[in-house]
């Protein structure tokens, strides 16, 4: 059973502090949490802290062990991260990329089993025909799916996704989120994803955390968190999330708010 607790995380790049005392609700097995927030609010930085790519202060405890004291080996086995940028458009084939990550991480699988697993994961993401095509010939959305495949192939307990749907078309946006939900129902684990599609986050996530200027502005069940006030305060838009039918909320974007509508204290970057 995966369990993740994150509290009081502070992170900085050089002298510039970008995360201030970020605490997430405790994440139990099967949870899917969406991190929302405008550009530059610290979503990617939070993912980097959670994957230990960036060292930070605060406590991140995965399955009862502090993240900082996990061995790299244990971390690799449990956590997979999809960075915001998709795989580079080189002459490498998706198949070779997936193959090399599994071998680099020392997965104990025969060549045959590994081939089959790669074929399954690529098929799941609609990349059957691209398995042996150079990454440079793939579209941005296809490469983003290769990036997701790179995480899924490792079958992690904790899946950290930085804007996994950003480059995807409508079909794959829904498909990928459905896939994540189905995977959670199937095998458990915890998923944390940075998302910009507020309506999809409200539909698929168990909870959302809204970041603004590196601080948690609001956290909790989507319907409670995503109010008109939060949209105005954090995103500087007039917008409303309609509940919709069958748990399919829709976002009505009305207009951007000019800077005089922004509450003063929120645009203060020093944050202190």
């Amino acid at each position: 059973m995966t369990h993740l607790s994150v509290s009081g995380v502070c992170a900085r790049y050089g002298r510039k502090q970008v995360l201030f005392d970020v605490t997430l609700p405790d994440l139990e097995d099967g949870h899917f949490i969406g991190i929302l927030g405008p550009n530059g609010s610290g979503k990617s930085t939070l993912i980097r802290c959670l994957s230990r790519e960036l060292s930070c202060q605060g406590s991140i405890v995965l399955d009862g062990v502090s993240l900082a004291s996990q061995s790299s080996r244990a971390l690799w086995e449990k956590v997979a991260t999809m960075p915001q940028s998709p795989p580079a458009p080189s002459a490498l084939f998706p198949m070779e990329l997936l193959w090399s990550i599994c071998r680099a991480l020392g997965m104990a699988l025969s060549d045959r089993a590994l081939s089959q697993r790669i074929e399954e994961v690529l098929a799941l993401l609609g990349l059957d025909d691209q398995a042996l095509a150079p990454l440079s010939t793939l579209s941005g959305g296809q490469r983003q799916r290769v990036g997701l495949a790179l995480c899924l192939i490792r079958d992690p307990d904790l899946l950290l996704l930085d804007e996994p749907t950003a480059a995807l078309d409508l079909h794959w946006r829904l498909t990928v989120l459905e896939l994540i939900r189905r995977r959670l129902a199937h095998r458990g684990g915890v998923v944390i994803a940075n998302l910009h599609e507020v309506d999809l986050a409200a539909r698929y996530c168990d909870g959302v955390v809204v970041l603004g200027h590196g601080k948690v502005v609001a956290a909790g069940p989507p319907a409670e968190v995503l109010t008109k006030e939060v949209f105005a305060r954090v995103y500087h838009v007039e917008a409303e999330l309609h509940p919709g039918t069958d748990n399919r909320p829709s976002l009505e974007l009305i207009r951007p708010l000019s800077s005089q509508h922004r509450p003063k204290h929120d645009s203060d970057p020093s944050g202190s």
Partner: protein, 345 residues
């Protein structure tokens, strides 16, 4: 539809066949290299002489064993070392123009050799022949050490590494030019000769040293094939997969500096082999470093060996310095490759 396993297996087999073909071509080139030269030796004499030196008369024995074999073998060893160093530095710096020389290693070797050439008349106890490669090696290793130190201080960002390497390159070139200024005519001539690069001064000791260096480094390169392949998917992917890219970069730069330093310290600057060899290998074999690494080493060996054959046969009776040929052959080859690459779908 055929399963991915079968299609991938087919691809891999095809690539190993290409490697076998490259190895065959290199072997052929080696034989041609042994045949080429001012003194006439037949294929039969050469083959017999290699396996049974006593069968040759003393003059031919000396030509084969003291001149042709060391020259031909050092071409293979230096070419392979430069190919390996080139492919690794291109991958680790994610830059198609990277080569051992981008790191400044080669210009440092030239500077070291120039220092030896200018100073050696003042050092009566040591022969120039011994001191020249030693200073070249020390300077080349020193430039590698400087880059590693820079990585420690400035961080392992690849652009920092490239810029620092190019800074070293220009610094060494400037210092070499300064030495030109004070050197006498004979030393100047020798520096030029050394800058061009030639294989004819190599003997068995040099062959053994460069070959040993290559085979000592190769296993470490092969141990990193998966990480290097993964890196072709982008540094961000590798980093977020938990790969310590900075450590990998340090190790690879250490390896390429050592390889390049040993490769150039006896034979001088060999242009383009470390750049073009890996590119040809990439075009033939793709980006899977399992096959790319041996392929690039073979391509480097093949190119330099081919250039060595040309250097002895182009103008009968004259041995053109091989560095001139690698540049003359390398530039058009690179252009042709770039055009071909453009045309590829």
């Amino acid at each position: 539809m055929v399963s991915l396993e079968i299609r991938h297996g087919r691809l891999l087999r095809q690539r190993w066949l290409i490697i076998a073909a490259l190895a065959g071509a290199t072997l052929l080139c080696l034989v041609l290299d042994l045949l080429a030269g001012p003194a006439d030796l037949t294929l039969r004499q050469v083959m017999r002489g290699v396996f049974d030196p006593a069968s040759l008369d003393p003059r031919d024995q000396i030509i084969l064993w003291q001149v042709r074999l060391p020259d031909a073998l050092i071409a293979l060893a230096v070419g392979a070392a430069l190919g390996l160093a080139g492919v690794e530095s291109q991958t680790i710096l994610d830059n198609p123009l990277a080569s051992p020389f981008t790191l400044g290693v080669s210009s440092a070797a030239v500077l070291g050799a120039s220092v030896a050439l200018v100073l050696s008349p003042a050092l009566p106890f040591m022969g120039q022949a011994a001191i020249l490669p030693v200073t070249a090696l020390l300077f080349a290793l020193g430039s590698g050490g400087l880059i590693l130190a820079a990585i420690r201080v400035l961080g392992g960002e690849r652009d920092t590494v490239i810029l620092f390497g190019i800074a070293i390159l220009f610094l060494c070139n400037a210092l070499t030019a300064a030495l030109f200024y004070v050197a006498d005519a004979e030393a100047t001539q020798q520096i030029v000769f050394w800058t061009i690069g030639n294989l004819t001064k190599a003997g068995w000791v040099e062959v053994v040293i460069v070959t040993a260096c290559f085979f000592a480094v190769l296993p470490f390169s092969l141990r990193h094939v998966w990480l290097l392949t993964l890196l072709r998917g982008g540094e961000a992917q590798a980093r977020s997969s938990g790969i310590n890219v900075d450590r990998l970069r340090t190790l690879v730069i250490l390896r390429t500096s050592i390889l390049a330093a040993f490769a150039v310290c006896f034979v001088g600057t060999i242009a383009f082999v470390g750049l073009v060899g890996p590119h040809i290998a990439r075009l033939l074999l793709g980006e899977d470093h399992r096959t790319l690494i041996p392929g690039a080493a073979l391509c480097g060996a093949l190119i330099l060996s081919g250039a060595s054959v040309l250097s002895k046969t182009l103008i009968p009776g004259v041995i053109i310095p091989v560095g001139i040929l690698t540049a003359a052959v390398g530039v058009p080859a690179l252009m042709a490759l770039l055009v071909l690459q453009r045309r590829r779908p």
